[in-house]
């Protein structure tokens, strides 16, 4: 009986521990969304300063994870001041009509303890595309860090129309880097 009770306590403790491992709080201020693009052979670095994330991720049950990230496109920094104003225009991101870009996961597959594949939908400028991106996760002292590095084609989202549609000035591929810091729900 004593043994059984001990096992029960142990199991409960384990369950609690597992329960407490779900990362749900995304800390935007400690997170980054950056991008690289190539303009006439010149690699430019940019980023977004404003975004919010919703997350449910438990390393022990990654297949149940869900993530949704909303990026405020007006907060863009293209690396060139003049271009920051330009990219809000209808030819580019058309932020007046589509102020937010969203990535929402549909399925998370664990490759190993640190590497995952996240299938989801990316919506920019009213265009939704299915994408599958790699992701890594590492945690230390209850602070989890998710990173993802992938590439999208700006033409898939009609980013850069008219005179900008040609890729000889601004390349089609845009590299995107996420670094999200999250903690377990308090």
């Amino acid at each position: 009986m004593k043994y059984l009770l001990g096992a029960l306590v142990l199991t409960t403790t384990m369950l609690t521990t597992v329960q407490a491992q779900e990362y749900t709080q995304v800390h935007s201020e400690a997170s980054h969304i950056r991008f690289n693009y190539t303009q006439m052979g010149v690699t430019m670095r940019g980023g977004f300063s404003e975004f919010t994330g919703e997350l449910r991720f438990d390393p022990s049950t990654p297949e149940q994870a869900h993530v949704m990230i909303d990026v405020d496109l007006v907060s863009i920094d293209t690396g060139i001041r003049e271009a920051d104003a330009e990219v809000t225009k209808p030819e580019w991101l058309h932020t007046a009509e589509f102020p937010t870009a969203r990535f929402e996961s549909d399925e998370v597959m664990a490759l190993d303890e640190q590497n995952y594949e996240v299938a989801g939908r990316l919506t920019i400028k009213g265009q939704t595309r299915d994408i599958t991106v790699p992701a890594t996760f590492s945690a230390e002292n209850g602070i989890g860090v998710f990173t993802s590095h992938f590439s999208i084609n700006r033409s898939d989202f009609a980013i850069g129309e008219g005179a900008w549609a040609s890729f000889d000035m601004v390349a089609n591929a845009v590299d995107i880097e996420f670094e999200l810091t999250a903690t377990v729900d308090d």
Binding site: G41, I80, A163, S166, M169
Partner: protein
């Protein structure tokens, strides 16, 4: 005094003269254009030309230091000789300082320079828009000083040719004919 500049010196002088006038004109033209692919293209060309001019200046200086130019006519007053030397060295200095200030400005504004879209130049400065604006002012100021000196340079060459009727201008021109002037 009937010496010519060397063919190399002449070639560098006139090649750079054409390239500099083009780069200068492009620089003034491109800044007021509305943001467009065309504008970005012209900015890239301007930077490529600037890097090219910087390198040509180094070649030219190496040549100049190893090949003394023909002496000025003996009749040239001492102050004019001094002024001519000072002006030439100032022009050389600006030929280095102007592209350098443009490169630094570009770095500070956050746009690396990639020569002909192939060879990336190191960014000597981290991105700093305020510093970028200051370097823009510097780049512009240096160019106005350069233009002023250029007008003086051309004016002096023409004065030598038409007023003094000496061979100073001819010594930098192709050898169409002898340097004997009546």
């Amino acid at each position: 005094m009937s010496e010519h500049y060397t063919t190399t010196a002449k070639t560098l002088h006139w090649l750079m003269a054409i390239l500099m006038l083009g780069t200068l004109a492009l620089g003034f033209y491109m800044q007021d254009l509305p943001f467009s692919p065309e504008k970005l293209r012209l900015y890239s060309w301007h930077k490529w030309a600037g890097v090219t001019l910087f390198l040509l200046t180094l070649v030219r200086l190496a040549w100049r230091l190893s090949h003394p130019p023909p002496p000025l006519p003996a009749a040239t007053p001492r102050w004019q000789q001094w002024a001519a030397h000072a002006a030439h060295w100032a022009l050389y200095g600006l030929m280095l300082a102007i592209p350098l200030s443009g490169w630094l400005m570009s770095s500070a504004k956050g746009v690396p320079t990639v020569w002909f879209g192939v060879i990336p130049l190191p960014d000597l400065l981290a991105r700093d828009p305020v510093l970028g604006d200051r370097l823009h002012t510097l780049h512009l100021t240096l160019n106005w000083v350069f233009i002023t000196l250029l007008i003086t340079h051309v004016g002096a060459a023409l004065k030598h040719h038409w007023i003094e009727k000496d061979t100073v201008l001819l010594s930098m021109l192709p050898r169409f004919k002898g340097l004997n002037r009546g």
